[in-house]
Amino acid sequence: MSRLRAGWSQWVDLWSHEEPPTSLALLRILLAAVMLSDVLWLGWLGLPPALLGPEEIGGFGRSAEHPAPWLWRWLPLHPWTPWVLWGLWVLSLLGVLTGTLTPIACVIAALLSANLASLVPAADRGIDLLSRNVLWILALSSAGAVASVDARRRTGRWIGDGTAFPAWPRHLILLQLIVMYTAAGVSKMGARWLPMGDFGALWIILQDPAISRLTHAPPEAWYPLSQLATAGTVAWEWSTPLLLVVLWQRHRRPDPRSGWGRVLRWRPELWWAGVGLCFHLGIAALLKLGIFPWAMIALYPAFLHPSDLARSRLPAPAPQVTP
């Protein structure tokens, strides 16, 4: 019983830690910038009526009568309504970007993204789902307390006053990334990702005209490189759960002279994130997946403890060694 109680205390301690929300603010700004560019592009292409409106007013998706797009129960079926929703989406993302009424802006942006997902499920991609999950976490966080209009109003300084806030939102986003990469790794059971399929997965993907940036089949000399990249991708994704061990050990603050102390000094989580960064830049260079690689990279500040940003112009927090 006492061990259970001690375990629960450690668990509560993990989620009660506080830090200045500088990493979260950076993540908020990067994610909002990526999402805003996507929503502006959607508008430039003239797609709001097709993707944000029900079929009664020219939408490609479900009818307003369908129970899923619940927002449309209260909205007038007018051709301009999708454009109004688009404008509201742009404004809410501007709010997230600039940190203006941040929690409200995050909730509105998440709900408008959910509206599109309910209306045209095929037009809602995995990265949109991930962005919504993160927007809800940001809405409950203090991501708007640094580098924001909210900070200016609250403290008189654009960059805030360095006050510490609960760190659990950053930890939750880290866990979100770990769950996503682990699930992606576990589901890569297609033999093409494995030795039985000759590690041919990326070679096959590069020949898909719907997503490949290559206009012709890749030169055969690239094949060994693509095999190496395939094996590396799978190994990297399968190694994701090890991050949990690393982050837990960091939370326990081992003696710097112990084995874990020496390992943690090398910042394995940042090396892992560095590989992820290369992976996503590779995707951006070779595949046409829209905002996917950029939105993923936008979430990587979650790997940074605010002390990692101490040399920046943001307020320097007290150095701590937690995940």
């Binding site: 095929a122 809602d124 993907i205 206009t215």
Partner: protein, 218 residues
Amino acid sequence: MPTIPWPHWRTLLITLVLASHLLVALPIKKPITPETLDDPQHQQEVDRWMRLFGPLGLTRPTLVQGLIQITRVLWDADRALVEPMTRLWRHLELGQAWSLFAIPTEQPRTLEIYVEDRAGRHLHHRTGEVEDPELAPWLGYRRIRGIYDTRHRTSSYRKLSEHVSRKLMTERPDLTAVVLQQQQRSVGTPGEVFPDTTQTLLVHRTPRHRLWPEEGKR
């Protein structure tokens, strides 16, 4: 009765949210059935797994039966555990469905648009080869690609096809119909022999009179 401090309540809430999302993240989203395995690509997939299990004494029917049974059990567990959670998150469109190219398609498809006039049918757009400069950025947008880069004929695919047809026929009154279709071909790794599965799929033809019925009556 002692009051429970806020950090404990907060941790409890976080734990519940985490638990529900971890359950939703379970990767089995549908069971493998004998019909699923009729697909040539899935047959090849089983062939490749037999390279690993064959030398260990496992026969092909045993592997197939095992796959069907295991995924059925996981699917039932998934439905029992995850469905209640999914109901909770559905309205907000939250979830944890990640696969990221679980099985790369070996029969990729290319979008083609043909236009018809009095002289016959002509190729107007083929992704990556002959592209309509105005339509290409529109069709290349990731959300629109999600609608046409599909294995099944959906109502969204039909609406997209009619939208493209309306646009082309408005610009060119001489057109009598527009056809949206997918050209499927097989791809493989260097030196690999693979079946030729070239075929045209998801053909959707929109004649002018369907969009402007009153023109046909005149």
